[in-house]
Amino acid sequence: MHPVVPNPETLASQACWSCLREIEKAAHFCPHCSKLQPPADSDYFTFFGLQRRLNINLDALEKEFYSLSRKVHPDLYARASAEEQRWSTDQSSLLNDAYRTLRDPIARTEYLLELEGVKLEEQSRAATDAARAQGKEKQQVVPADLLEEVFELNMQLEEARMGKKMGERDEQVEKDLSTAKDRFEAMLASSTSDLHQLWKEWDQVIATGADAEDPLRIAVRDKMVALLNRRSYVRNLVRDVNEALAA
């Protein structure tokens, strides 16, 4: 699907602990003596021998997951040395974490952004600390008009829910809620397709061999951060409106 560009991470080599011959750094097994290797200090993409790209062949990923799961399974190492038993457990849990993260589109994107130096969980607090230190007002990480809109939508949603709670079997309330649901779901869908567009842009930048400081790479990264920030508000609205309809 993609032209094969060597991944510098996997090219770095190390010696097999058993036969001492040279192997790829992220190799799970020695190609010479077939021995299980200790887990490499690598990211999830490297673990699966993948480039840091966002469009992933999920079928291939799943196949590789099942194949590796069988090969590193602790049952196979029950009679091996204590060290190998531990490596098999560690490789298995790393494999599970890596697979769970990479197969999920949002988790995969968030994970990549963290690898690219973005602290998604920290961005808000970091901005607050900076504002406090400078005695300035904090720069909100999402645009003010989006906050206004989300607040307004939440108010409307609450009103509709209150109406329902009061026992109003009001057709208008139900209608308002389902209109809101359609609208929020459309917003979420459009954010998904925007995200896919950014994935494409990202993969193109990576294919050019852009390094971590490349301005294009940073620009696409930051666009994805902004999109995920916006998305978390929309996702909550969808969740809340569905709860209100189910209540």
Partner: protein, 139 residues
């Protein structure tokens, strides 16, 4: 996750939920959000123009129990303080008071942001006099 008793108390009996007149010159409004969880919080203050004391505060928060408790506590704490004094409230004070776990720290950050944003909005409304006052404090 277990919430502390104080969080549960504020969540069940939130103080100062409501709205102040956004267009009033004495009222400052802060609308802030936490992208980590998608919560939004609006905090409003009403300031006495003579004394600069915050005489009333209201909030409305769409978010988890910790976010509601943090903003409820924030309104209690700013009431009766001068605006400059209210600016000294830090998110870590809220974390301590409510015994928030690490995963809920961003809720306290949101409450501090809301206080600062509301005061910032009020200062803007006071026009040219506000920056001068800030300079005087610094000097």
């Amino acid at each position: 996750m277990a919430y502390s008793d104080k969080v549960i108390d504020h969540y069940n009996n939130p103080r100062n939920v409501g709205t102040l007149d956004k267009s009033s010159g004495q009222v400052g409004t802060g609308l802030v959000g936490a992208p980590e969880c998608g919560d939004v919080m609006r905090l409003q203050i009403k300031v006495n123009p003579e004394t600069q004391v915050i005489e009333d505060a209201k909030f409305k928060t769409f978010g988890c129990g910790s976010a509601i408790a943090s903003s409820s506590l924030a309104t209690e704490w700013v009431k009766g303080r001068t605006v400059d004094d209210a600016l000294t409230i830090k998110n870590t004070d809220i974390v301590k008071e409510l015994a928030l776990p690490p995963v809920k720290i961003h809720c306290s950050v949101l409450a501090e942001d809301a206080i600062r944003a509301a005061i910032g909005d009020w200062k803007k409304k006071q026009g040219v006099t506000a920056p001068a006052a800030v300079e005087a404090v610094k000097g």
